[in-house]
Symmetry: C2
Subunit: 254 residues, 2 copies
DNA sequence: GGGTCCGGTTGATCCAGATCAGGGCGGGTC
DNA sequence: GACCCGCCCTGATCTGGATCAACCGGACCC
């Protein structure tokens, strides 16, 4: 689960990057995947340029507003999606409505991989995002033809599993301060520092979502952030950006 | 993470099933893997009988007493292990000693798959167990030669990931009663019912380990079990066996 | 402008589960 | 037999974070 965020908060959707899905010859179609900014990070990084035209015929980029559902827990898993830009939240819901966010997906992440026939979680955009849709059958054929794709998928799933186990440790053992500190540190490792070189994190999602990820109420999250700020570990620049003043202090708290 | 337990609690180790690791010809070596009870469930189920002799030269079964560490978090991941019988606990440790059990491994489960170079968790037997050791390099060669093995590994990792996300939901949202009920139901689905047909679960691990898996103290676990018994949902037959009297009541509580 | 809504923050209070403390029991050893 | 030790259970008390309630400020709409 990566966190290298680079998205607008609640902006309108940019116009589609391609003229239209009309046939314009293989050259143009190849260009769509060849120019994909998420390709090196995502599933398709395992393919060579020569394979891309074929890929372009089965995959389609989609531009989505914020708060748009992409896959729904339990629904038949007909396709997988690669995030090209923006951010999504993945969550599971209990019958009585309680929700647990299991992760946030950003550029390069693949969502919608299912064990059985149904999606294991719901995925919904938190900012305007672009995702690339690939039918499940196309993915299966791609894996059969290119074992490297399967290897890539295995590597990505293994990383996800490891992240999930870290989250189990966080939810099972850690205190509120430790959870927030761990979260901020994990984010800061994946985001670029500010112009002056100090590390910072961008939090485009609402506080209630961060809480639902960390197993905390938004009130508790707010109090912990105040405490960390009072201790000189962080500074809240705006509502959605925090500067890490003292990584060592956060490390000690996590 | 499967739970179909069938193991002695703290018994002595059975004598090695094979005469000795001396060379006795391909026939016998083939026999070792061909007769492996965990083969269909484990990684090697993706192989045909003809591939087994080669497998036997790189893999070795190991008989282990209870409370024996198999892999240690952070150590270099030189091999993977398939559980043939018994039960292991997998856990992560915080610097101050707090431990979170991320899962229990039983026959067919593969442990020790690592993303980077180091194991992500510690694995330790909770009952006397038999595991099959395969060097990492041998696994890599096996995957290169047999894409089906890689597919199997991907499927197994995906199931693990899904189970980990369920555990995140449990730890992030559920109450103590809900956690224990979910746990008992998950176990009962994977174990055989008693002779009279009522479902039951076998809990060879100490209560403190179940607590460490569910994010609860053993005192709380004890109180919850008493409560469930008082409500007529379960009966404690012995210290390590519980009969599910009313699956619907557990379902409602979970 | 004024109104409403929503996300965030802060304060007061509550409670589920942790912690602390004591006791029972079965297995192992001498 | 007596003793010890580990595991489990139970009761009393404590507390971290949830819950309840109120307020603030910015975005949006009329």
């Amino acid at each position: 689960m990566t966190f290298s965020v680079a998205a607008t908060t609640t902006a309108a959707v940019a116009p589609p990057p391609m003229p239209a899905p009309q046939t314009r010859g293989v050259e143009t179609v190849t260009g769509r995947c060849a120019g994909c900014s998420a390709r090196s990070k995502g599933l398709c990084g395992a393919l060579t340029a020569g394979d891309l035209p074929n890929l372009s015929t089965t995959s389609r980029p989609l531009d989505l507003l914020s708060a748009t559902p992409v896959v729904m827990e339990g629904e038949e898993a007909g396709a997988v999606f690669t995030v090209m830009s923006g951010m999504l939240k993945l969550y599971k819901t209990l019958p009585d409505g309680r929700q647990q966010i299991t992760g946030f997906a950003t550029a390069g992440d693949v969502i919608g991989l299912a064990v059985g026939t149904g999606y294991a979680y719901t995925a919904e955009t938190v900012t305007a995002s672009t995702v690339c849709r690939m039918p499940r059958t196309a993915l299966r054929r791609l894996m059969e033809r290119h074992p490297a794709v399967q290897g890539r998928l295995l590597a990505m799933t293994s990383v996800e599993l490891s992240a999930a186990q870290d989250q189990i440790l966080l939810l099972g053992c850690k205190t509120a301060v430790e959870r927030v500190s761990s979260f901020l540190l994990a984010l800061s490792r994946r985001s670029r520092p500010l112009a002056d070189g100090t590390p910072s994190v961008f939090l485009p999602m609402p506080k209630v979502d961060i809480g639902a990820y960390l197993g905390l109420r938004p009130e508790t999250l707010s109090r912990v952030l105040r405490k960390l700020e009072g201790a000189g570990a962080i500074t809240r620049l705006t509502n959605d950006r925090i500067r890490i003043e003292n990584p060592a202090a956060l490390e000690a708290a996590a």
